[in-house]
Structure formats: structure tokens, C-alpha cells
Amino acid sequence: MSDNDIKLEIDGREVEVPAGSTVLDAARKLDIEIPTLCMDDRVDPAGCCRMCLVEVEGQRRLHPSCAYPAAEGQKVATHNDRIDRHRKGLLSLYKADHELDQHGRPVSRGVHNRLADYLDTYGTGPALTPVDAPRVARSESLETNPYIQFDPESCVVCGLCVRYCDEVEAVSAISLVGRGSGTTIGTADQRSLLDTSCELCGGCIAVCPTGAMTEKPSVTRLPQLQPPKAPTSKVRTTCNFCGVGCQLDLHTEGDQVVRVTSPKPGTTLNDGNLCVKGRFSYEFIHHDERLTQPLVRGEDGQLHPTTWEVAIQRVADGLRQVEARHGTDALGFVSSSRCTGEENYLMQKLSRAAFGTNNCHQCAAT
């Protein structure tokens, strides 16, 4: 342990954390569960959802553990009657501000429904009538982007999407808009995301605790209010759109891929992040015109299925013929950003060493 370590006590248990840690960091080290809605390790804490409040000895008010600095000798309580009453009261308020299903549970169209989870775990205080907040969100008919859906009535205004877009993507396509009970998420002049700096990375979806930001294609195929048509499961794979090697979790329904997410932040090299291709470009998997085997054009001008051996031989013959007729520099080799670094290397090897031309290029090299 370094000299910087801070010793504190949480729920009567001692723990040591490095300087600069928060109370939440320390609690996690002890596997003490503290509910959170507005925090994500990838962005700075905002302390605004108030879900994670704890009692710090000597402090009159409750403080957000996600932002409160751990300090030497500090004594923290993460559950007692006061905190319990606070959590219940807060959850009552969230519930009154949220779209509910016919069973009175918060609706989420995404993969997370943390509000519902916390309601199950911590219960509620007073049963309040829905507040019908005066939120002015983008009109659905104008929001023509194909990928990202925003349901203001499932939003807890935690601001994570905004902070992610700013602090991680450095795009700032969205912002908190309005004030008071009307506060919601919007774009400049409430335009479609397509007319903003948005890169459609879907990171705002990934961080959303309540599925207010969701994958539009998944929602239209998978109305969450109905039971799934076939058992769902998750399959880990590597994205093959580029050589970075992001890990993907393919969510499948029967043999259909219905949604793509990243593994949890901190567990794979993409740290919870994906780009528009990895997250959304999976329609081709089930596309009618998808190539699933090598095709070679026959004398009749039509493409015919064949084996890899035949197809590769055909390419080799063709290249040699061009070389013989017009010289090596009549050839050019273009490889794809969907190839790995090794594959790209081999492609330029083929170009330079096997054929002796520098006419080689890669689609992402411009």
C-alpha cells in the first residue's frame, strides 16, 4: 500500500483506499451495495440523482457517495432508517415522474431498468399521482435518425448521456434543455440528431440507466412490453468492422440478432464504448442479399456458387493476365478497414513482394 492510502470506516468496517477516492469507491471495495443512477466511471460524477446519498459522521446533511471525497478517519453509514426513508421517498418521486406499465412498473425499452430494480430492492414511500411534467422534447416525426430513440417519459434526467457525449465522445450533440420539472434532453433547436454533430455512436444509450435512450431498430423489433418471441441470449464476439477488436455482446432472439451492446466498462479493451458500425450495423446478418459463399461469374454472365479454391484460383489467373498484358503497375490492391492489421500487412505484401507494385491502399488510409 502506498503512503497515500486513506483509512476510513463504512458501516463499521475498515477499508483503505488511495487518495482521491470517493466514498463510493471505498464502499465498492467492501462490496457494499449503494444504488446509483447518475454515475458512470467514464465520466465525472454529477451527484444529481441523489440515489447514492450516505451519512458521513459529523455532517448534518446526507452526501452523494459518488462525489464525496473519502477522508482519513471518516465514518460512513450506507444504510439506516434515515437513508432508508430517503431512498423510499426519492423512489416515490421518480416513479411519479416516469412512464409506468399496466402493473405500475417503470417502463424501460432498453437493457437497463435500474429504476425498477431499485424499486424492487428498496421499496417506495408515499404513493404519488403522476406529475405529468411539462417536458418539451424533440418531435418524433422530425427525429428521422435511424438508430437512436429518446423517450422523455422514461428519462430520470440523470444527465449521463449528455456527459458521456461531451466527456467521452467529445461530440456534445445533446444537452440538458429547459428548467425545473420541464428539464429534458435535447439538441440545438431540437433538430434531428442527423442534423447535429452526433456520430450515432450510441454511447448515450449504453450509459442510460432507464432505457430512455434506446436502439431504435431494437425497439421496433422488440416491444419490451410483450414477452420475447423466443428465448433471448447473449453471445460475446469481436467486432469485425475494423482492426481495433472491440468486444460485442450480440443479443439474440431465437436465431436473430436483435441488439448489440458492449461488455461492461473496464472489462474489455473498448471499455464499454462502441462506434456506429459496431453497435448498429448488424442488419446485414439476416439480409436476403448477404453473400454467404464464394460466387464466380460464368460464361452466361451470371454469378454461380463455387468453392474457395476455385474462386481464389480465378482471382490469381485474372491478376496474372492483367500483369502479362499491361505490366505490374496496371494492378492495384485495395484492402478494407474491416481487415485486421495482419491482413492489411499481408495485402501490401501481396502487392509489393508478390507482384512488385506500390499501388496498394486501404479504405481507411485517406
Partner: protein
Amino acid sequence: MEKKGAKRKVVLQLLEEHGGMRPGVARKVSEETGVPEADVYGVASFYTLLSRPGAKTRVCQGLTCVMAGAEQVIAELKARGEEVEAVSCLGQCDRAPAAIDAKLELIPGAPSGGITPSHDALAIDLAGEDDPSYAAFDKARDEGPDWIIEQLKTSGLQGRGGAGFPAHIKWHAVRTQAELTRYVVVNADEGEPGTFKDREIMLRRPHRMIEGMAIAAWVAGAAKAFIYVRGEFRDCIRALEAAIAEAGERLDWLDIEIVEGHGAYICGEETALLEAIEGKRGMPRLKPPYPTEKGLWGKPTLMNNVETLACVPEILSRGGEWFKALGKTEAGSKLYCISGHVGRPGIYELPLGVSLDELVEAAGGYVGTPKAFSPGGASSGFLPMDLRGEPLDFGGLAKLGSMLGSAGVVVLNDTVDMAVAARWQQIFFEDESCGQCAPCRIGCRVQRQAIDKFLDARAPESLGHVEEVAWEMDAGSICGLGMVASLPLQSAMKYFGEEFDHE
């Protein structure tokens, strides 16, 4: 993540110049500043003078103005086909019902209220002649910062912005920071319903406040001072500019910048105010860290209310003991704003700790049969008349579950329905919540709907959850607004229970 070289600080000013939140304006301001467009739009949408721009009459719907017939004024203007908007308290309660025109200038109505005639035992002395000599500053500089802080300590000066925090502690805290770039900020955002004292200081004694600010800057080691004035106080801004010009080279060493507010009560909260100066949405920050440690752009910042700073020159001229002795139950003389059902609404400088009866006596007596009063603005809730003899000070009122706050005292007589009065205060808090944290964002709306529903049907069961929701707003909110936002309704129910039973 701020882009390098982005000129965020001028975002609000540019938004105003381009006419507020209209299509295309966010893009223009974004191009001019390098701040992302969505961000600019989000900022614009926060401030009512920007999000609801336009040439129109803005009529105050603060409690005092409503009691004085603001609703009729609105109806009449509308009937004449004028564009009107009802807005939160304009800080003109002594001339209720108040309104401002398209250029935010006060529409001449009743003359401004009464003030205490000048005499010797007053720290502010609104009626006295403003003194541009800056002699107190010269004396302070000769005596040195330790002496100044010692005098403030002896004087017992408590912050006049609402919290009553001892001034000398903040001054000392900023002075002793390791970081050497420091700022001084004057909080002139005066927005607490019922409060209009800072307005009159800026109009009548601008030098007194500026001198206090200069002393603060000198003690804090700040080369730059900001005065954040609510945008609706056009005449105050002019008075300050004139006084700064008049002070001339005496203040050359200090860079003074007046920053205008754009319509958001919450920007009176110190950390929201810092965000506003920085060109952001005025959402309060988490504390700790406190502004004395990490304030404007992360630098130590000394912020005081207009009245607090205006007390300083006389404290230093005449000594801390002199100031302390001016008080009754707590130190100093105090500007009490009084409006509502009294003979001569206005601002009366009295010993800190006078009772309501003593204050009202100075203000020309009660009008009608008094029933309730608010001792310190909307945030202090309502008290019944049997507490009329209690000292109006920081400590005593806090013990009663109320507060002196900004000393915006409002008197209500028996023509007022307490449920209706409570509703106007709850409307104020719902309109002015910044919306950052759920307890306040949702809670303010819940409370307002509860009293609405009660008034619709006089059904007491609609008030069944008021207490529990209030508890959570107090426990869970980030800032003082959410913590006290249920008080008007709670206190009305507590002290005037019979009006909430049934009909």
C-alpha cells in the same frame, strides 16, 4: 470538455444580443464562441429572459404583487391585446403590483416605498449622502488585512444574503488559500420574493457597496471583482456604472465587471451564480468544495451579498464594537424589507432582532387585521400573528423552523386565504427549481399540484403526502431551494390548519 480557446464566458451576453432562444441563434453563438451548439441551446433554455424572449410586458406574480392585484393587471393588459407574461418576483414589492416593459425597464406605477430617515446609528443609512471619497478603504489599507478581519469578527457581521454566515470566516478562508489567483463576487441577484433592499443600496448608496467590495478584494488579494446583478434591475446597473466611473482612478487597481442575470432566481445561490458567470446553466454545484476554496474557474472566490459588503465601510470607519452595539438580539443594524398589508411598505434599517410589531410600526402600521407574516421571503414560510413579538433575527427564527433569510417581510391580513397564499409560493418554487436534482425537480411539482388539487375541491386528502415529500426534499436536495421549497405549504398547514380542513 471545454475546447481550447472557447469563449464560454460571453455565451449569455451573445445569446441576449442575438435575441434569445430563436432558431439559428444557438448556431450563431456557437460559431462565435467555439462552445458546442447543443450546449449553447441548453444554456439559453435555462434562463427565462432568453428562453421566452420577446417584446412584452412582464408582470410580477410574487405574493405581494398578487395580493395587490397583479392578476387583474394581467387580465386588463391582455384585454387590451398586449403581450403579457407573468413572471417571478421582480424585487419591487414596495410598489406592488409591479411590471417591467419590453426593455425590462420598470413601468412607472406607485412610487418606491418608505425608507428610514438618515441618522447616526445606521450602518447602511439609505437616506444618507453617498460618499465617493473611499476614505474607509484608505484607512483599511493602512491598518492591514489582519486588522480588517479582526474588526469584522468583533462586529459580528453575518452575511445578509440569506444564510447569516459570519463574514470574517469567509474573508479569512479566501485569504489563506495556497492558490494566488482569487476573485471577489458581489451577489446582487436579489430574487427572493419580498426582498428589494439590495436594489435600493445600489440605487442610493452604490459607493458604499463598491467600497466594501474593494476592501474585500484587497483583503482577498483579488485583482478582479464581479458584480452579478439581476437583469431586471436596469436602473441599478446604470447606478453602479456611474459610481464606478465616478470612483475613477481610486479603483484603477481593481478590474470590476458587471455581469447581468437573465431571469433565474436560482442564480442567487452562490454556486449557481458562479456557473452563470462562467456562461453555463445556473445549476448549483455540490459542496464541498466551497467557493472560498474552489469558486470561479476553480479559483478561491469570496462572495458576499450587496448589503453585507455595504456594512463594511462603516464597520471599519467606526469600529467593530460600534456596529455590534447597533443590534438588538444579534449584531448590527439590518435592512428589513416590508410589504403586503402595511401602511408604508419599504425598507427600514433597524436593530437586528426587532419584532414584527416594531418593524410594522416603522412602516406605518398594519392595514386591516393581520393574520400571518413571512419573515424572510418565500423560503421562510408563514408564521402566525401570535409570534409577532419574536425577534426577527437569524438564530431565533431558525429555532422556529423559519428563517430571517434576506429579511423580506410580508404581512398578510385576514382577507387572504392561506391556501391561496401558499399556492403562489409553491408556484414560485416550481417555476424556479433548476431541475438538476430529482427531489426538488419532481417534489416542487408534486407540492404545487397538491395545493392546486386542494383548492379545486377543498379535499384535505390531496394534502396527505405533503409532509413526507417535504421531508425528502429537505433531506435529498442539492441546494437550499429544494430544502425549503415546501415550507410555505407546510407552515400554512401547520399554523392555519382550520383553513385546510374542509369547506
